[in-house]
Symmetry: C2
């Protein structure tokens, strides 16, 4: 979806945004680890946060910032999650916003703060302070790539993109950087996603759009309510495009909504495809459900099954594991109405295995990008979940990741 130019532009593609990523010495490997994103023009802000009851300190602080309705900046670090750090953690997260605000000349409640990395360790605040000051000095219209690299952990690459639409005769731009990789059950790895846009839009509509879109995009690579301690998706909209401000659900809103949804969909797919150790990208479509909740529940049951995931890693068309996961999903399916397809080839139809062309199915299983269709035959509703396989690489990454 995103061109190379758009990817490298990222969060600084919309007018009025600058960014930077620097080395502060928080990541053990010495890579970039502190990012700042800034808009001098005040932006409407919207955010969606983890529902984990053990939410990290920066989540608590950023929720308050979103509550004010506007913001000027985001400060984020990788290498230390600042989660399970108690009062000290809260003070450190607040301090991050204060240092950033002081350097930028805005208020501390204008600064979103995010962290990702190891849980239970306090932030090295001396390094953090130098890092933030350094990042603010380096803010530029070309800083998105460094900012993107500063927020990744076990991701194999930084996810970034940008796009534009026309609203009221004006070009309105969107940019994004994101990270997230612990993907066998993505809920347990931190996902950070920072979206910028120069659209002029009322904050309440921005929040409503983001909340709705998150349900069918980022929450479809995760289990509802099952999120890491640090997950966060935010949008800053600074109005620099000078489009007629979107204040109602008119045609302009629909265009804006559609563009934001496309970005979130694309990012969700990329985060799933770059799951830790992933060798396959799995798209699980459930059709013919009575309602969205049922469709999602069936798709998630399949997506989360380690037996399904290892079968795809082994390129084995083991549809028995898929139908088994459908059967225990908790949704009242009827085996005799259910059809399962791999890459469009029926493998299970109405209670029994289907006769299929072995060679054609082997080809499907050998591909990197595999679609699993599950037709329930019970209603009219669909849901799509994005997932990946389970490989030796996942065990290696997570068995050797030391605290």
């Amino acid at each position: 979806m995103f061109s190379e130019k758009h990817k490298s532009a990222g969060v600084t593609y919309p007018l009025g945004f600058t960014a930077a990523g620097v080395r502060a010495g928080i990541k053990k490997n010495g890579n970039l680890d502190v990012a700042v994103i800034y808009t001098e023009k005040e932006a409407a802000v919207a955010g969606v946060f983890t529902k984990n009851l053990v939410a990290a300190a920066p989540v608590h602080v950023s929720k308050i910032v979103v509550g004010t309705g506007s913001a000027h900046a985001i400060v984020a670090n990788a290498g230390c999650a600042n989660a399970c750090t108690g009062e000290q953690g809260l003070r450190d997260a607040e301090k991050m916003t204060e240092i950033t605000a002081q350097e930028l000349g805005c208020r501390s409640d204008d600064v979103i703060v995010a962290s990702t990395g190891v849980i239970g360790v306090n932030l090295p605040m001396d390094k953090m302070e130098s890092g933030i000051k350094d990042a603010v000095k380096n803010l530029s219209r070309e800083g998105s790539v460094n900012a993107g690299n500063a927020i990744i952990t076990t991701d194999t690459y930084s996810k970034a993109g940008a796009t534009e639409i026309q609203i009221g005769g004006k070009e309105v731009r969107f940019g994004v950087i994101a990270k997230g990789s612990g993907m066998i059950q993505p809920n347990m790895a931190t996902m950070l996603c920072f979206i910028t846009t120069d659209a002029a839009i009322e904050q309440s509509l921005l929040q409503e759009a983001l909340s709705e879109i998150t349900e069918v995009t980022f929450n479809m690579i995760s289990v509802d309510g099952d999120m890491s301690t640090n997950d966060m998706v935010t949008v800053l909209a600074n109005g620099a495009a000078e489009n007629p401000k979107i204040t109602s659900k008119n045609e302009d809103y629909e265009k804006f909504y559609s563009a934001l949804k496309n970005i979130c969909t694309e990012l969700s797919k990329r985060i799933a495809a770059d799951g830790e150790g992933a060798t396959k990208f799995l798209t699980i479509n459930v059709n013919g459900a009575e309602n969205f909740g049922d469709a999602k529940q069936v798709a998630m049951s399949v997506a989360k099954s380690p037996l399904v995931k290892t079968a795809f890693f082994g390129e084995d068309p083991n549809w028995g594991r898929v139908i088994c996961a459908v059967g225990y999903s908790g949704v009242k399916i009827l085996p005799e109405k259910t059809v399962v397809k791999f890459g469009g080839i029926p493998v299970y139809t109405h209670g029994v295995g289907a006769k299929f062309d072995d060679e054609a199915l082997r080809k499907v299983m050998s591909e990197k990008d595999i679609v699993i269709d599950i037709e329930l035959g019970l209603g009219e509703t669909s849901a799509t979940v994005w997932s990946c396989d389970l490989s030796y690489g996942y065990v290696k990454i997570n068995g050797e990741y030391t605290t």
Copy 2:
């Protein structure tokens, strides 16, 4: 718990039971694959079956047998699950009971039938018929070891045991064989457990005891309602011990109940410890919950987390992943009241990481048998879940298991 003598005696330890295990050519590797267990004296029968809506043919047939209240035999095979096999599968499962009944001289609805192995493949009924006939010919008081080996799949060994208690001046014996190994989420691998006893007990009490005990034993290595297509636990009680028949919940019933619970607990722990590729046995105790459902939900959330499982495989005391799984379990925990211990050593107390002796904790993590205690501080109820780690071995077994 079980002595070597008791293990080898297994299901034939109680008076009046014989067993056999033979090679019928159903397992690709040529190992033992058809088992028969028999009691000439009619036995009261109780059973607990998978709640998976895609239940296998033998499950449907065996439920009817349990419904009659009595049985004489069990016929079981490994290598082919006879699941997702439609009408043909049902006819094949019924045929297994008919062949067995004919050879034994009982009725087909006196024969429990069970299968485990690959889903979606029809049973080779010619091989099955020879196998059953062969097994019946070989029935003996020493046949439990072979029967146990005939029902295992990826298990590294056959789980078996026996014990005895005194009821009304009579020795009452119990024996068991079991299989089950796909353990990362045990719900997706078939667990078969056949318990025999020479106790005299009313069928309705036997069923009530088994149903209750299953909730706190076998269902604690699995997710409630999340079971494989073929899971089954059955008890045959033939009364050969000639104890005063247990017809009410008296002291004798309590003794019987306690012995049955001990057996089921021991087998549950062994099945968890022998999870596919497992290198660690994890006991997860949740204390201080408001009710059993909450306690179990928190323990299962931790037990199922691939990030927790890989951390234990890597011997990394990553308590952050444990508290994260507690936080998203769906139970309303309070971080400031929660305490997490590994091997008795507090690692997380009241919202923050605890100071601990690195050397002592490293020793805990290096052990094969590790206890995780989670204190919620919200009530008086506890639950224990048994689990294992996630290793390269799991991915190898399940990525290379071909259909």
